[in-house]
């Protein structure tokens, strides 16, 4: 199956809006800051999922046969909130409560089915187990929803990820997709320096169907992978090569922006760069 040009365009528009909102919200938090790098690397992945893949009802986010999206990499929560807003599941007003003390949209998201948030994240490595469970329920109850779990490449250091990775092929979970945001960086630096792994081989070795997306910021490449038909009774891992801090040159591949606050000056600079990029050549 191929995504229509219309779908691609809509996802790209949503991604552009999301990227601006991530920066606005990060700036709004003042000195508290946000996980900017890891949010900007997953913008297109989440935009493609919400705009072209997930079957959801914005009016009834709890509807029984909805697809389930689990954000396992908690650092991406802010990006997820902006996707929920772009998909009209939460309002712009709700979105701008991000980071408020005691609010509904904390730095790492907290389970809230009414807002379309399926999972509490923050601690790494547990989302895939939960996704395996949801996919297993779908099979056992013949409720044909699909489950998508978004993980970070650094997150894949956690052993618990591999307990879940081991189980999914055993249970023939062809309704489960794990998307790995391979931005090649983690808190302490490059993933190859911190813990050098070979993720494609690992997922493949655990029995998953592996699809690599060379440009994890290309909506059409992402949709091609996400809509690739399952031919076997296997779960699918999509390894999306991304750039941490994507879209803002001073943030790209710069781990100072793993978590940081965004001054007015830098915010303006970032917005100017993004606006520039949006204009047709």
């Amino acid at each position: 199956m191929k995504a229509s040009d219309e779908t691609i365009r809509k996802c790209e528009e949503a991604a552009a809006r999301m990227r601006v909102n991530v920066l606005r919200l990060a700036h709004m938090t003042g000195s508290k800051g946000a996980h900017l790098g890891g949010c900007l690397s997953i913008i297109e992945i989440i935009a493609a999922l919400y705009g072209g893949v997930l079957s959801l009802d914005p009016v009834n986010p709890k509807c029984k046969d909805r697809d389930r999206f689990i954000l396992s990499k908690g650092n991406g929560s802010l990006a997820h909130y902006t996707a929920l807003e772009a998909a009209h599941i939460i309002s712009e007003e709700q979105l701008f409560t991000f980071g408020q003390n005691g609010g509904l949209l904390p730095g790492a998201s907290s389970l809230n089915p009414e807002l379309g948030i399926e999972y509490s994240n923050g601690t790494l490595g547990f989302g895939l187990s939960y996704g395996v469970g949801l996919a297993l329920v779908s099979k056992k109850t013949a409720n044909p929803y699909k489950v998508y779990v978004l993980l970070g490449d650094g997150e894949c250091n956690e052993g618990s990820v591999w307990e879940a990775a081991m189980a999914a092929p055993h249970f023939n979970l062809s309704n489960l997709t794990a998307v790995v945001d391979m931005n090649s960086m983690q808190s302490d630096g490059k993933t190859c320096d911190v813990m050098n792994t070979h993720l494609e081989n690992m997922w493949h070795g655990f029995g998953w169907d592996v699809i690599t997306v060379d440009d994890g910021h290309s909506i059409s490449q992402l949709l091609d992978a996400l809509m690739h038909p399952c031919t076997e009774l296997k779960p699918r891992a999509i390894i999306a090569r991304t750039i941490k801090g994507k879209g803002v040159s001073f943030m790209e591949n710069n781990n100072a922006w793993h978590h940081n606050s965004l001054s007015k000056e830098l915010f303006d600079e970032a917005i100017a760069e993004i606006s520039q990029a949006k204009r047709p050549a």
Partner: protein, 325 residues
């Protein structure tokens, strides 16, 4: 309702809590289609053989992967199932500590986590398989009910009760095969409500799990020495039944907690925490597992090393009691 009759009581007690669990869950599953069971490679050990034959589709074996078991169980709970997730207590609570906190505490999923063979029941397997810290750990996590049945009859009652209770529960199983019978017939079991098993005038013994029977035996020994004891089965350790405790310590000159768990952080710790909030209260003697790793041995030996056999419990109590006068 799970049938509580002399035949079941006899069979379950022969099996002990660990293997009786599978029988009890089979009975429960027959009546409640939402009940599913997860285990990390302990089907046979938890007596689930028969369950597996009848309800293969409702038994999920995650392999030796307790963390994953918790995550999968939580998802089933979200989708309105009633999952019982089973491993040895040390793995259910210690290996899967953070998933327990995350899914049962923070996400408050309706998971019934079972810790098999807690305390010293794993005998010669040794210290990695003993569990003297589970109550301390689970009780520190907000929002999880902790239940430890006194015998297999109470296990059946507790399993039934937690299946209809909406919220995460840690079910702590103790003892070995030939689990002594405390409850010889059906009785009213209410989560969070202690059961007064013996009425006395001098001291009040609060016991949980395997130590309920041993405390009853100890109270009979004490009776002969002229010390009259109230014995209460505190099957629910969190939330603690402070109402019954307050009523029953009123006239007591000594309160005793007895548990097959570390003296710190378990029933004794919870009771101490409550007592010190009262203006006046009798002194508290806490009996339990010593605060050290000890050379391993069989079940009886380990209880003996920690002063938890009936005669030893009676002796410790009478020593303390006589020092009061």
């Amino acid at each position: 309702m799970i049938q509580i009759n002399p035949s079941n009581i006899r069979v379950w007690s022969l099996l002990g809590q660990r293997s009786a669990l599978g029988q009890v869950l089979l009975e429960l599953a027959r009546e409640n289609e939402k009940v599913i069971v997860l285990t990390s490679d302990l089907e046979k050990t938890s007596g689930l053989d028969h369950f597996a034959k009848i309800f293969r589709e409702r038994l999920i074996n995650t392999g030796i992967a307790e963390q994953n078991m918790l995550g999968i169980a939580a998802a089933f709970a979200t989708e309105d199932f009633i999952p019982f997730a089973i491993s040895f207590a040390n793995f259910s609570v210690l290996r899967a500590c953070e998933p327990m906190r995350h899914f049962m505490g923070y996400m408050h999923r309706n998971v019934k986590l079972v810790g098999l063979s807690s305390g010293f029941a794993n005998g010669l397997f040794g210290n990695t398989h003993y569990c003297m810290e589970d109550i301390a750990i689970v009780s520190a996590v907000p929002g999880i009910v902790i239940v430890s049945p006194a015998d297999c009859t109470e296990l059946a009652k507790a399993v039934e009760a937690v299946s209809t209770f909406s919220g995460p529960v840690y079910l702590r199983l103790t003892g070995i095969m030939n689990n002594p019978v405390v409850y010889r017939q059906n009785f009213d079991f209410e989560l969070g409500k202690g059961i007064v098993l013996a009425k006395g005038t001098d001291i009040t013994v609060l016991a949980s799990g395997s130590m309920v029977y041993n405390s009853l035996q100890a109270s009979e020994i004490l009776e002969k020495q002229g010390i009259s004891a109230t014995v209460i089965d505190i099957h629910t350790i969190k939330p603690l039944d402070t109402i019954t405790i307050d009523q029953e310590i009123n006239s007591a000159r000594l309160v005793v907690s007895v548990e097959e768990h570390a003296k710190t952080g378990g029933l004794g710790g919870a009771v101490a925490g409550h007592l010190c909030s009262l203006r006046h209260h009798p002194p508290l003697l806490r009996l339990g597992i010593e605060d050290k790793f000890q050379p391993a041995g069989d079940y009886h030996y380990m209880l003996e090393q920690n002063g938890l056999l009936p005669l030893q419990i009676a002796y410790a109590i009478s020593q303390q009691f006589s020092s009061l006068t």
